[in-house]
């Protein structure tokens, strides 16, 4: 790896922790960002010359902090601090800084940085955009591409979001256990939103695929900081298991491929292995939660070498417990897919019938209903449901997946007629 690639990698990896520590120090997002930028510029100069520091994160924090202080002094009294080239050779100073950054400080810093992006006044899309900008360090252009908006629009969105959280009282005191749990839940759901923004993309949206990787990176980071949190294990496992299927999810022309039609040899065994190991670990805790249950469902799919090997009864049972933890018509709709496999399509149709008023505008409701009706041999009703689904499709891939069913019905009608 070239010097530059190594430095970029180290800076990218250090960013969340460094930004989080600088934010604690300055208590101001813009100042923290400026200080971090400054430290990065100095790293690009100093590291190729002096070699990599022993702890790049501690180096960036210390240099960023000193640079900002330096700037203040320069404007006030014109007295400079020692240059950072000297600083980076001061092994003792670096070690001491690294010491201070260990453990609890680091953890709550990073959690705070992520939590600030989850301000309840911000709509979900702004939360994600802000987190990608501030925590992950993605450029405005990259984020704009992922959201399919112009750079200017995204710039405005991020500026507005920053102004919004800047006005509020950022929570800088160390959180108590209850508060920490609340922050944790908000941050976990924000990470899941980032993942879904990437996951729901058409294959064409390559830029969005990167959001899945970024969400996994953030989930792993949080899990490293909070290694005993079963729901964090569950979330990380869920993201890994879902992302493992990315190469198998779309046809060459971008149509979505249903789980049971996917070429399972394209599933990423490494990601699946890690996901299964995490869910295995989480189960030992005997503290189930929605992310763990969803990961367990994904794990049952991942463990099936062929679609017909899938443990649908197990999936049905897991969805039943998810319905209790997190009641929602969408969960019931997903459960119905398992019910159709275990007890037949009529049982599934009976299960989703009461959902109609709430899910009438939901693409997947009509798609699933059409599939159950087709399975039950009620073709005319199935076609009606599919037509309805297509009119509600959000992406070309969704529409294409329904068209496959309609084509199949039409082809069967033709062959029956001839």
């Amino acid at each position: 790896m070239s010097d530059l690639a190594w430095i970029e990698g180290a800076i990218g990896a250090a960013r969340p922790q460094a930004m989080a520590a600088l934010l604690r120090y300055f208590r101001d997002l813009d100042k923290a960002e400026e200080a971090f930028q400054d430290a990065c510029l100095r790293a690009l100069k100093a590291w190729p010359r002096n070699g990599p520091p022993r702890d790049p994160t501690a180096w960036l924090i210390m240099v960023g902090r000193n640079a900002a202080i330096d700037a203040v002094r320069k404007t006030s009294r014109n007295t400079a601090l020692p240059p950072e080239e000297l600083l980076s050779d001061l092994e003792d100073a670096e070690a001491a800084a690294a010491e201070r950054l260990d453990g609890a400080h680091y953890r709550d810093d990073v959690l705070r940085l992520m939590f600030i992006c989850c301000h309840p006044d911000l709509p979900a899309t702004q939360q994600i955009a802000l987190a990608l900008r501030i925590v992950s360090g993605l450029s405005v252009r990259e984020i704009a591409r992922a959201f399919l908006v112009t750079e200017t629009a995204m710039e405005q969105r991020i500026t507005r979001a920053k102004a919004r959280i800047g006005a509020g009282d950022a929570p800088f005191e160390a959180p108590g256990p209850v508060e920490r749990a609340e922050r944790f839940a908000a941050v976990a759901s924000m990470i899941y939103l980032i993942f879904n923004q990437g996951y729901s993309a058409d294959r064409a949206g390559e830029a969005k695929g990167g959001l899945c990787d970024e969400a996994i990176r953030l989930a792993r980071l949080l899990l490293r900081l909070f290694p005993a949190e079963p729901e964090m294990m569950g979330l990380t496992a869920l993201l890994l298991l879902q992302h493992a299927r990315v190469e198998a999810r779309f046809t060459a022309d971008g149509a979505a491929i249903l789980l049971e039609d996917q070429d399972r040899s394209l599933w990423n065994a490494k990601l699946i292995g890690e996901g299964l190991a995490l869910i295995d670990k989480a189960m030992l805790k005997r503290a189930p939660g929605p992310y763990q249950v969803q990961a367990a469902i994904a794990a049952l799919h991942a463990r099936a070498a062929r679609p017909e090997d899938t443990d649908w009864a197990g999936i049905d049972a897991l969805y039943a417990s998810l319905e209790i933890m997190q009641p929602s018509p969408v969960v019931t709709l997903n459960r119905a897919v398992a019910v159709a496999k275990v007890r037949g399509p009529e049982a599934a149709l009976a299960m989703i019938a009461p959902l109609a008023p709430r899910l009438d505008a939901y693409f997947h409701y009509h798609g699933a209903r059409g599939a159950f009706l087709l399975q039950a041999g009620r073709k005319a009703e199935a076609r009606e449901a599919f037509d309805h689904a297509i009119s509600l499709a959000n992406t070309a891939a969704e529409a294409a997946s329904i068209r496959q069913y309609l084509d199949r019905i039409a082809a069967e009608a033709d062959s029956a007629a001839s």
Binding site: W6, A10, A13, R54, D55, R224, A228, G273, L278, K281
Partner: protein
């Protein structure tokens, strides 16, 4: 003499590698391993899952305590290891240098092996 080459690196850096970069590093390491295998000097090789998948059992008490995460909180994490057969530390260091050229960053700890029993499990290279 058998030596373990223990691979330490910053996990948050290596886990942020793109798949393309990861593949490239693994391919380069594969070249070195292939040569060592031909020379009859390569023993078992393992790449470990991230430390987030690790569990630690404290057995200094009864019942033992199960903890999440790796045993030691360190700046660089144990990410894998090689077992190699060399006449001397010099030879083992040469191998480590070759591996390091293929995969810069982090450290290798070269540690002579006192007792080695490869055991019957995992003899075929395979996904776990």
């Amino acid at each position: 003499m058998l030596y373990a080459i223990l691979c330490y690196n910053q996990e948050d850096v290596t886990s942020a590698w793109s798949k393309a970069h990861d593949d490239e590093v693994m391919a380069k390491l594969g070249v070195v391993q292939e040569r060592l295998a031909k020379e009859g000097r390569l023993g078992p090789v393992a790449r470990l899952m991230p430390t987030t998948a690790a569990t630690t059992l404290r057995k200094d008490r009864d019942p033992p305590l199960v903890l999440d995460g790796p045993f030691a909180e360190t700046k660089e994490q144990l990410l894998g290891f090689y077992i190699v057969d060399c006449d001397s530390l010099d030879g083992a260091l040469d191998i480590a240098k070759d591996l390091g050229k293929a995969n810069p960053g982090g450290s290798y700890e070269i540690r002579p092996i006192a007792l080695f029993n490869p055991g019957p499990a995992g003899q075929e290279p395979a996904a776990p």
